[in-house]
């Protein structure tokens, strides 16, 4: 069954409730929504990250992207999700530009007849988004800035889906 795919890359904020309403379908018993938010962060100094050592905390995240490729790669990820799971509607919104503490960064929403597809698809799309979409975060502290480092855990998370893909192809 065809799925409605709605992908946007924009500086503007989005309204979760509006996107939730738009995702609903009569044949869908499950809607899963992931929202990524700008969370507090402490300037890394001598100690381990995320520890309040320097006193300087995150003021905002700046999101840079590769116009054209960003939209295209998000759409490709949604297309993969639709091929792999039984879905009826997908919404992916990623914001760019300067986003203050607490701001919404990203929304991935999925409507499906059954919850297992909705959960897996939302989870998978986030993993692809973290690893394959040309977006970069610059952390603005009050007196300095630093580019966010890619996390090994994000790469590992992606492997879950790629291994499963290969297994499916082999069987």
């Amino acid at each position: 069954m065809p799925a409605t795919i709605n992908c946007r890359v924009q500086p503007e904020d989005f309204a979760l409730d509006h996107e939730y309403q738009a995702l609903q379908r009569q044949d869908c018993g499950a809607v899963v929504l992931f929202c990524g938010l700008v969370r507090e962060q402490f300037q890394p100094q001598d100690g381990p990250q995320d520890m309040p050592q320097s006193g300087d905390t995150l003021q905002a995240l700046e999101l840079e992207h590769y116009p054209g490729m960003t939209e295209q790669s998000i759409r490709a990820i949604a297309g993969q999700a639709v091929k792999r799971f039984d879905l009826r509607a997908i919404t992916v919104i990623h914001r760019i530009g300067l986003l203050p503490l607490g701001a919404q960064i990203v929304l991935v929403g999925v409507a499906a007849p059954h919850r297992s597809d909705a959960f897996a698809a939302c989870d998978m799309m986030m993993d692809y988004l973290k690893n394959q979409v040309p977006l970069w975060k610059k952390v603005h502290f009050s007196t300095s800035t630093a580019w966010a480092d890619a996390k090994a855990s994000d790469k590992q998370a992606l492997n879950r889906w790629q291994t499963a893909e290969q297994n499916t192809a082999e069987n």
Partner: protein, 95 residues
Amino acid sequence: MPDITAAAIDTTPQIKVLFFAALREAIGHSELQLTLPAPLQISGVLALLSAQSSKVHQALAGREVLAALNQQLVGCDTWVHSGDELALFPPVTGG
């Protein structure tokens, strides 16, 4: 030598190279046009860029760089053709 090779080809093979994020800041440019002296893989383009500018050399050295050719993520052994758009950037951190 590279100039002679380039001149021997009918139209001068040129590509557009884009830099993003920390790499863009380290290099100080977001975009440049590059003349290909010969057919090259992306790894060859990286070597050529490093040879042309010490700033690029420093920016690329010891940094993990991803490549997108015509807006598709590709490996560094991918061949580059005239008119291509090659983007170079650090591992992505969106989402």
